[in-house]
């Protein structure tokens, strides 16, 4: 008889994630990368992306119910990532959590979270109750950072293990020079606070420039940034590239003075930080940027700044005026990252154990 490629010694793995239609960010990229890695190791892999509602209301309840109703029995193992995809029923379900529904946890009743009113409070209770119940049915819970591990412990009293996500295309990160611009590559969205970087440019005294790149999820936010650049007459100091491809991103990073990443309460260090470090560039972040500080130590391999445009401008000038500092921080960033065990082999081994 002929050849048999059924891969009997390999397993069937269902990756399950949520997604916002037409939004492709770090989490989506990471799951696609994991799929590639599992396939390359001979496993059968399916990727299910469950649509997440556009509004946080009763549709959230429908979404939770949907996840509980879909059968993944054909799979030997399920790996799930986000709320409420990690509720799908399976006896051998491992969670690699990127974040919970943050709007009812650490962002609750804040500028980025749900407002505390009776309807939202009921929703919050449901989400937390579901997390408490269904997450505990998982075989293993990994998280992508100490930040997320801490939140899970604080709000749900659930233990987890940190499993750092590696880059798929680490080899494409390279170094060219410490140029004269700061590079901020990220989806343009309120959470990522590109506006703070733009605002800071009105206060810089050096000739440092800022280059923003990334697709916009929120057209009104992109419009706000453009208006800000026009209103403050920053056209010669700030460039908005919009979406660029991966190669262009890595090339820009290679020639940047340093990278900027200013998310609010980020779940993990973010791919931007990692790509910057592998390109021997330090990262400027903010004190309230959450998980970015996972890799980043102020004054050692990056700069952690008070979240204000003036404070940022001061650090931008410092890096421009003191290239040696930019280089030392960048070199240390590269060395620090290489000393950590962040690899796909580790990730696959742990997720499948």
């Amino acid at each position: 008889m002929g050849n048999d490629r059924s891969g009997a010694d390999k397993i069937r793995i269902a990756l399950v994630n949520n997604y916002q239609p037409f939004v492709y960010g770090g989490a989506e990229f990471l799951v696609d990368s994991l799929r590639t890695q599992l396939l390359s190791r001979g496993h059968q892999v399916s990727l299910t992306r469950i649509p997440f509602p556009a509004t946080l209301d009763h549709k959230l309840i429908n979404n939770i119910l949907s996840c509980r109703c879909i059968s993944f029995d054909e799979a030997d193992k399920v790996i799930a990532f986000k709320f409420p995809a990690y509720f799908v029923p399976h006896d051998n379900r491992t969670v690699w959590m990127f974040h919970q529904l943050r709007q009812v946890y650490e962002l609750w009743d804040g500028p980025y979270g749900l407002r505390d009113d009776p309807k939202n409070a009921a929703l919050r209770q449901l989400v937390i109750g579901s997390d408490n119940h269904f997450l505990r049915q998982s075989k293993h819970i990994f998280v992508n950072s100490n930040e997320v591990a801490g939140r899970l412990k604080t709000y749900n009293d659930i233990d987890s293990e940190v499993l750092y996500p590696p880059l798929l295309d680490r080899d494409r990160c390279h170094f060219k020079e410490y140029g004269d611009f700061l590079f901020y590559p990220s989806r343009m969205t309120t959470f990522k606070r590109q506006h703070l970087a733009v605002e800071s440019m009105q206060y810089v005294s050096s000739k440092v420039r800022l280059v923003l790149a990334g697709k916009s999820d929120e057209p009104e936010y992109e419009e706000k940034l453009r208006n800000l650049i026009a209103a403050k007459k920053l056209g010669d100091k700030v460039t908005m590239l919009g979406w660029i491809d991966q190669q262009e991103k890595f090339d820009l990073m290679a020639g940047a003075l340093a990278c900027v990443y200013l998310p609010y309460q980020e779940d993990s260090y973010g791919f931007v930080s990692m790509e910057a470090f592998y390109s021997r560039k330090c990262v400027v972040t903010l004190q309230d940027s959450g998980g970015t500080k996972e890799l980043l130590v102020d004054g050692v391999n990056g700069l952690v700044v008070y979240p204000s445009p003036r404070a940022l401008a001061e650090k931008f000038d410092l890096l421009y005026e003191n290239r040696r500092l930019a280089r030392d921080l960048g070199e240390q960033a590269f060395a620090d990252l290489n000393s950590r065990d962040i690899s796909w082999d580790t990730v696959v081994e742990k997720l499948l154990k």
Binding site: M1, G2, D4, R5, T48, I50, P53, A54, N62, S71
Partner: protein, 344 residues
């Protein structure tokens, strides 16, 4: 436009619809649309049907996209204000396989209530759509007869990347597709085992579990002509399409299939004749015996006789293959037309 394309299908097994949807997304994208393609798992176990359909129903994509194209069993359940349905299959156990050894049964109360549920929700959810297209005449007829719903005929075409035409006729028959019970591999192998002329049989089968693979291997091993049979499990699609293009003929004997499977479409592109059986549903409807293919009684003797005829008269096989190719070429739309119809 922002277009969401939703597909339901098996998690790991081969599914023609996955290949069609990939091509559709590519064409829509080239036409300048933003595409978000989503596939959700579908389990065909009758016990899972109600829960699954409810799960799909609870998704609401209205706010994310201008238009939604749904493909696959119960994909029409999705909520969207501008929903287009492309029925490439239905839940066959309660439609074409109802009360057969492969489908649900009127003697089981649970099956009857599930069938009634499926008909009711199909009727309701299809009626919400702006457009309902059927992938075959058989589906269109079934929807009309069982649900009273008129549909537009829109069969899928062969995706561009699988269009191979070698003009070669090597000494083997090929059978390709998921090794489901309805594929009747044992009938096929039995038929081949009774042939007298020298030829080989290559079965390129897709399985989703080791038990399916083991069952197929057992059938082949028990054949007196096992040494002339090659069983390839889960081959790459490229490999299957290339084999189809250089085979003597494609042999396909599914029981009451509702659509033309992708490998038959590929055979027509490669101008290969098709051997099928009179109870093979849409396939039997399309193949005219001795006019553009072979459509014989569903038994091993008839299959063996047809296989011997093909391998003994290559010129005739070529002539019938050419005719089948011409027939389907005139019948199947282009992908540009498919994309246009589904988004108009």
């Amino acid at each position: 436009m922002k277009i969401a394309v939703l597909r339901t299908g098996p998690l790991f097994a081969h599914d023609d619809a996955a290949l069609y949807v990939a091509q559709l997304c590519s064409v829509l994208s080239e036409a300048g649309h933003s595409i978000e393609s989503t596939s959700l798992p579908f389990s065909s176990a009758i016990a899972d049907i109600v829960e699954q359909s409810v799960a799909y129903r609870l998704f609401d994509l209205t706010h994310g996209s201008d238009l939604c194209i749904a493909v696959g069993p119960f994909a029409h359940a999705f909520n969207h204000s501008n929903k287009r349905i492309w029925l490439l299959s239905q839940y066959s156990p309660v439609y074409e396989l109802w009360d057969t050894c492969y489908g649900a049964s009127s003697t089981r109360p649970n099956d009857v209530s599930t069938r009634d549920y499926v008909y009711a929700v199909d009727r309701a959810w299809l009626s919400e759509a702006r457009l309902v297209c059927s992938g075959s005449q058989t589906i269109a007829q079934a929807v009309l007869n069982n649900l009273g719903t008129e549909t537009q005929l829109l069969p899928p075409a062969l995706p561009d990347q699988y269009r191979y035409a070698t003009n070669e006729y090597e000494g083997f028959f090929v059978a390709a597709g998921p090794l489901l019970d309805t594929a009747r591999i044992s009938l096929l192998v039995d038929g081949f085992s009774r042939t007298v002329r020298p030829a080989r049989l290559v079965i390129m089968g897709f399985v989703s579990s080791p038990s399916e693979r083991d069952a197929a291997q057992q059938i082949v091993l028990e054949s007196p002509k096992a040494e002339f049979i090659t069983l390839e499990i889960n081959p790459t699609y490229d490999r299957v399409f290339k084999h189809v293009s250089s085979a003597l003929a494609l042999v396909s004997v599914p029981y009451r299939c509702s659509t033309l499977d992708i490998f038959t479409v590929a055979a027509s592109w490669s101008r290969k004749t098709v051997l099928t059986t009179i109870d093979s549903g849409e396939l039997a409807r399309l193949v005219d015996h001795q006019v553009d293919g072979y459509c014989v009684e569903a038994n091993a003797v008839a299959l063996a006789q047809a296989m011997d005829e093909i391998s003994g008269d290559m010129q005739s096989a070529k002539r019938l293959g050419d005719r089948f190719g011409e027939k389907l070429n005139g019948m199947l739309p282009t992908w540009a037309t498919i994309a246009q119809e589904l988004t108009k």
